[in-house]
């Protein structure tokens, strides 16, 4: 596995130690894997430790999926992970961004019944 793939996989499986090691080795936090996605785009959304580590090391929270227009904030909102939603916003994630179907993160939270996320996004 090439390093970018290993990095994305570590983020996707929520392996904080491995993500930290690769960052220390100097891997580019915004490099894409063989599927064209950055670690932040594929990370295990419920893993706030991984999210924080990536963001603190300069991961771009406003990168959108090239086939659906989905951003990490869309994903975190749809899955209902409020902590991750808050973190992404703290690191300047755009809350008004729309995916290719014109849905904002708040719309996805609403569709999936994550009211705590809806209330939080409304309060901003």
């Amino acid at each position: 596995m090439i390093r970018e793939d290993e990095f994305a996989s570590a983020a996707a499986t929520g392996n904080v130690e491995h993500v930290g090691m690769l960052l220390q080795d100097g891997v580019d936090v915004n490099a894409v894997n063989r599927f064209g996605r950055t670690p932040l785009q594929v990370m295990m959304m419920g893993n706030t430790a991984v999210a924080r580590l990536l963001l603190e090391n300069g991961a771009n929270p406003n990168v959108s999926d090239h086939s659906t227009g989905t951003t990490p904030l869309h994903d975190a909102a749809r899955e209902g992970f409020l902590d991750t939603v808050k973190l992404l916003i703290q690191f300047q994630a755009d809350i008004s961004v729309k995916d290719y179907r014109s849905r904002r993160p708040i719309d996805l939270a609403q569709e999936n019944g994550h009211l705590n996320v809806v209330y939080f996004l409304e309060s901003l």
Binding site: M1, D5, A8, S9, A11, A12, T13, G14, V16, N33, F35, R37, Q41, V42, M44, M45, G46, N47, T48, A49, D65, S67, T68, T70, H74, D75, R78, E79, G80, F81, L82, D83, D99, R101, R103, L108, H114
Partner: protein, 298 residues
């Protein structure tokens, strides 16, 4: 079976690579949701897929009709012909973006409240009772294979291709991560559904301890660590179909389980010991565990 997974689902990262295939996190282009793709390559002849594969898939689909809340949903099964001799079968599961390991790690100090552990255990046992009543042994239960949604709903993953067994069949000794392995698997004796109860017992203890209960470095070391806690089994309890002798181990006597799991309640400790019973035939079943007084505490 749908024909082409590649059109509808786009892989975004590799999340697992087992003996029989690769697991990807992927996105469903239509809904925008994540899914988990598990692909297996199977040999085919002029009659198409082998009967064993067709049966496994049929069983999984049958399970799906129960729509059990504590196992991941099988959303789709696709078969793609690769060559004349090989077909790729792709199972599409709902993807849950958090595992139990993450969930435990992120609980603020001093760890999960007792009521939350009880709730997780109840859901875990329900999922397990469901699989076992359908003659499926999970065989690889560990915190990474137990998923927890943002609403706290437990869903078992990775039972997909667990070999379907005819209720008392002896299976080849492989599987299960060392730390959650039952003694009968470590000893390469015959095994069945009780192996999952053992693994769940280890996980139960870990929920309180916030670190694994038995961290062995080899099969023998793992057994040694187990006996330090539950005591060395007697000669009579030792399985007869194994090569490793009971006399290879120090004569530990059992210590109170609360030495290792200090926060656990009285009923919790009782259930834990029932789960960490050496003899698989005397180990509690998932169904009986659900009736244990521990689940009535409140």
């Amino acid at each position: 079976m749908a024909q082409d997974a590649a059109v509808q689902y786009e892989p975004v990262a590799e999340i697992g690579g087992g003996a029989y295939g690769t697991v990807y996190k992927a996105r469903d282009r239509q809904s925008g949701q994540f899914v988990a793709l598990k692909s297996v390559r199977v040999q085919t002849d002029q009659d198409g897929l082998p009967l064993s594969t067709v049966r496994e898939v049929a069983l999984l689909k049958r399970l799906e009709q129960f729509d059990h809340p504590n196992v991941v949903k099988l959303m789709d099964v696709c078969a793609t012909l690769r060559t004349d001799h090989e077909t790729k079968v792709t199972l599409v599961f709902e993807h849950v973006d958090q595992d139990l390991k993450t969930y435990l790690d992120k609980a603020p100090s001093p760890g999960l409240p007792a009521s939350q552990i009880q709730d997780l255990m109840q859901q875990l046992m329900c999922g397990l009772a469901f699989l076992h009543s359908n003659c499926i042994i999970h065989r690889d239960l560990k915190p990474e294979n137990i998923l927890v949604t943002s609403r706290g709903q437990v869903k078992l993953a990775d039972f997909g291709l667990a070999r379907i067994y005819s209720c008392h069949m002896a299976l080849t000794p492989v599987v299960v991560t060392l730390w959650y392995r039952a003694p009968e698997v470590l000893l390469q004796s015959t095994y069945a559904t009780p192996v999952d109860i053992w693994s769940t017992g280890c996980i139960f203890a870990e929920m309180f301890r916030r670190k694994p209960l038995f961290c062995g470095e080899s099969e023998v070391d793992q057994l040694g660590k187990i006996f330090e806690v539950i005591g060395l089994p007697t000669e009579e309890d030792w399985p007869t179909d194994v090569t490793l002798s009971q006399r290879n181990f120090s004569p530990f006597s059992n210590r109170p389980i609360t030495d290792f799991v200090p926060e656990i309640s009285h009923q919790g400790a009782d259930l834990l010991l029932e789960m960490l019973t050496f003899d698989p035939l005397r180990r509690i079943s998932a169904l009986n565990a659900l009736d244990h007084l521990y689940f009535q505490e409140g």
